[in-house]
């Protein structure tokens, strides 16, 4: 299949390794990955913070970049939820303002071809074993947008269960928000931190070495506290675990892990 990757603005800038992992997994499965160069942002940050006027022009831009793709894969459930929840209405609004009457129909045609990365594997391709090897104890954090927005359910867990060597440990407050919430983490930093404290405590209680998720936004938040507290527990996007193979493990064994100060 010809898969267009929408990396998302923050993964592009902050988490390129996730994008590389997505490419790696998809190519390993025999798919061709393309990267429409004009892509930037889905508009979520602006829309959710109240800047609708600023978010609107990003929609026609996104559609133009991706409407000819066979499938669009996005390693971020919150961005996919943004598209599914708000793009139809945004398109109607743009059309009503007389700017582009074709947009609602084009959005309606495009949306069914947009997949969150784990969802693409489990629901579109119908596979759970992607040939990964990751010999570590891992816990999974269900991001709110993946859990409630996209209804990912057990999909990500079934992918992780198929990873050889991986010991999956369940977190106690799976359905609870980590407190990120985009600008919420800054506007309401204290409450956000209190929510995060509960989440990191639950992560630590699992005894996992790594916490994974389908969203780097949550992971950036969780890792921010895990690192500040020097817990020694890290985070990794699910794509990076699924990309990991026996060969990677062998290479790592030959190259000792760098030391962080």
């Amino acid at each position: 299949m010809n898969v267009a990757l929408f990396i998302t603005c923050y993964n592009d800038t902050l988490f390129p390794s996730t994008g590389k992992a997505v490419v790696q997994v998809l190519e390993r499965l025999g798919h061709t990955v393309t990267f429409p160069a004009g892509q930037t942002c889905c508009g979520q940050m602006h829309w959710n913070t109240g800047y609708q006027i600023e978010a609107l022009p990003l929609l026609p831009r996104f559609v133009a970049q991706f409407e000819h793709a066979e499938a669009v894969v996005v390693p971020s459930s919150s961005c996919v939820a943004m598209m599914r929840d708000h793009y139809p209405m945004m398109a109607e609004r743009i059309a009503a303002e007389g700017e582009d009457k074709t947009l609602p129909e084009r959005v309606a045609k495009l949306l069914p071809r947009i997949w969150e990365f784990s969802e693409f594997l489990t629901k579109k391709l119908g596979i759970t074993d992607v040939g990964a090897y990751y010999p570590h104890r891992v816990t999974y954090h269900a991001s709110c947008h993946g859990l409630r927005g996209l209804g990912l359910g057990d999909g990500p867990l079934s992918l992780l269960k198929s990873v050889r060597g991986l010991e999956l440990v369940e977190i106690s407050n799976l359905e609870q928000c980590c407190g990120f919430g985009g600008t919420f983490a800054i506007k309401n930093a204290e409450v956000s931190s209190a929510m995060l404290a509960e989440k990191t405590q639950a992560v630590l209680n699992t005894g996992a070495e790594q916490c994974t998720a389908c969203d780097n936004s949550c992971l950036m938040h969780i890792e921010g506290a895990l690192h500040r507290q020097r817990t020694g527990v890290g985070t990794k996007h699910i794509a990076e675990i699924l990309a990991h193979t026996e060969a990677d493990a062998a290479a790592e064994a030959n190259n000792p892990v760098e030391v962080t100060v």
Binding site: Q24, L58, C177, S193, A194, G224
Partner: protein, 495 residues
């Protein structure tokens, strides 16, 4: 005893209030315990109803329909309730409702009234108004009694005193009921309330209530409760005055079919609450002979006028969104500066206040969606929050610092070139803040992949909220798109 009511017009911002409340360990423990218990009970009882989603959808449609034809159903209710011997009064705002109630109470010649828990009367600050007019109101719901005697504020729409534990309640009762030897089991405390209030139920001639539902078709009123204090107030006094928001009307009796099931399972995690009372006007020989309903607008028609915000009025006040909300669970209800706390308060209060006050409330949410998931009438609270945020941004004007920054970022997103420039600029701007990693000498040189970026432990200004408790990973040297370009230049399909 009068207390300073929660008033959005004078309350501090959510952020400010939350900061203080987060420091109250006892309160946080009480709130967490109570919301955990209700949530677990609710979850069990929702799971046993295989038709829950169908009921939710019906509930949503019924409430949305009633709002769409509100004028018709209010007129029908008025007609039928009046024909059944009741009296209808209309109040444009809180002050008018207060005046109407005070006049009605004064006409009876009493200086004491008994009250059923009613968030609507809390909204209009009725108790203080009555007190000022020389009328003392006895709250008869156990939680409201705790609040009243403790000179406290309600922090939850269903369980207003959930922020107090048994020892705290015991102290209040010991002092205010003059019971030095009062025990501290919940049974002891409930028994004390029973003794304290029984005499008032039997003696006080006027009761004040809210209502859960009005039924247009019959002129009927429905009140659900647990303790029997509601039944006491509804049946024993000669006069009953109910203050009810205009949005509470349902078209017909059959609309109760789903709603009377959705409400208790969502609110208290019970299959049915202990008592539901339904009546239509005056029934000779059974209950009050002098019956009044004050239909209150107080900003509701403004909410109705907002196409996106209107669904807020579908609310049946079950409190499930409060119990499910991870923000509410940290702060409790008082941070919201209004009797309507939690997610529903975060959307209702700013709208009732014409968006002039409580501008911080639409931001008091991580948009996690737990509220929408549990809402028995499917109010899309995150969607309304986002809608209200947009209104806040419009009100604050284009030249607010945040607005300028957000605009600049949006501009960058409109062109690949500008976006790349912004990415580079970001890296440069953050570089003085990044604690560099020292590379392990053993690391194989030339392995760019292994060069994970350093960490930021301090950020300036508004962003500092992040680094108070969290580190931030610095931006990697190479963006994904740079890597992709290089990889394709090499003409290889290696990764």
């Amino acid at each position: 005893m009068s207390r300073v009511p929660l008033d959005p017009r004078t309350a501090p911002s959510f952020q400010t209030a939350a900061k203080v409340l987060l420091g109250d360990a006892q309160l946080r423990k009480n709130v967490r315990h109570a919301t955990d218990v209700i949530q677990n009970k609710r979850r069990r009882l929702v799971e046993e109803k295989h038709d829950w989603q169908q009921m939710r959808e019906s509930g949503r449609q019924i409430r949305a329909h009633a709002l769409q034809h509100l004028d018709i159903y209010l007129a029908e209710f008025e007609r039928n309730f009046t024909a059944a011997g009741g009296h209808i009064h209309w109040a444009r705002d809180a002050a008018e409702a207060q005046r109407i109630v005070i006049d009605l109470v004064k006409q009876t010649g009493t200086s004491e009234v008994i009250k059923i828990k009613s968030m609507t009367t809390e909204e209009i600050q009725l108790n203080n108004a009555l007190e000022a007019a020389g009328v003392h109101a006895f709250e008869t719901d156990l939680a409201e009694l705790i609040i009243q005697l403790g000179e406290d504020q309600p922090s939850h729409i269903v369980v207003p005193a959930l922020h107090k534990n048994r020892s705290q309640v015991r102290e209040i009762f010991r002092k205010k009921m003059n019971l030095p030897n009062l025990g501290e089991t919940p049974q002891d405390l409930a028994e004390a309330a029973r003794q304290f209030l029984r005499e008032k139920f039997l003696r006080v001639p006027v009761a004040i209530s809210g209502a859960n539902f009005l039924i247009a078709e019959t002129g009927g009123v429905c009140i659900v409760e647990s303790e029997g204090n509601g039944r006491m107030c509804l049946t024993l006094p000669e006069t009953l005055i109910s203050v009810v928001g205009i949005e509470k009307v349902l078209p017909s009796w059959q609309d109760l079919e789903p709603l009377i099931q959705l409400l208790p399972r969502s609110a208290t995690g019970e299959r049915m609450n202990p008592y539901n009372s339904l009546w239509t006007g005056v029934h000779p020989g059974d209950g009050p002979t002098n019956m009044h309903i004050v239909l209150l607008d107080n900003g509701r028609t403004d909410v109705l006028a907002d196409h996106e915000g209107r669904q807020t009025l579908q609310c049946i006040r079950c409190g499930a969104c409060q119990n499910a909300c991870p923000v509410y669970r940290q702060t409790g209800g008082h941070a919201y500066g209004s009797v309507y706390a939690g997610p529903i308060g975060a959307i209702l209060t700013p709208q009732l206040m014409h968006m002039e006050h409580s501008q911080s409330l639409p931001y008091a949410s991580s948009l996690c969606g737990a509220c929408y998931e549990v809402c028995p009438v499917k109010i899309n609270i995150p969607e309304v929050l986002i809608h209200l945020r947009n209104k806040v941004v419009e009100q604050n004007g284009w030249y607010a610092p945040e607005s300028l920054a957000m605009k600049a970022v949006a501009q960058a997103f409109l062109s690949e070139k500008r976006f790349r420039a912004a990415q580079r600029l970001g890296r440069i701007a953050e570089s003085p803040l990044v604690k560099k990693r020292k590379q392990n000498k053993l690391q194989v040189l030339g392995q760019e992949e292994a060069q994970t970026p350093g960490w930021i432990g301090w950020l300036p200004g508004l962003l500092g909220g992040w680094t108070d408790t969290r580190d931030l990973q610095a931006m990697p040297k190479e963006t994904f798109r740079d890597w992709w370009e290089k990889r394709n230049e090499k003409g290889s399909n290696r990764t």
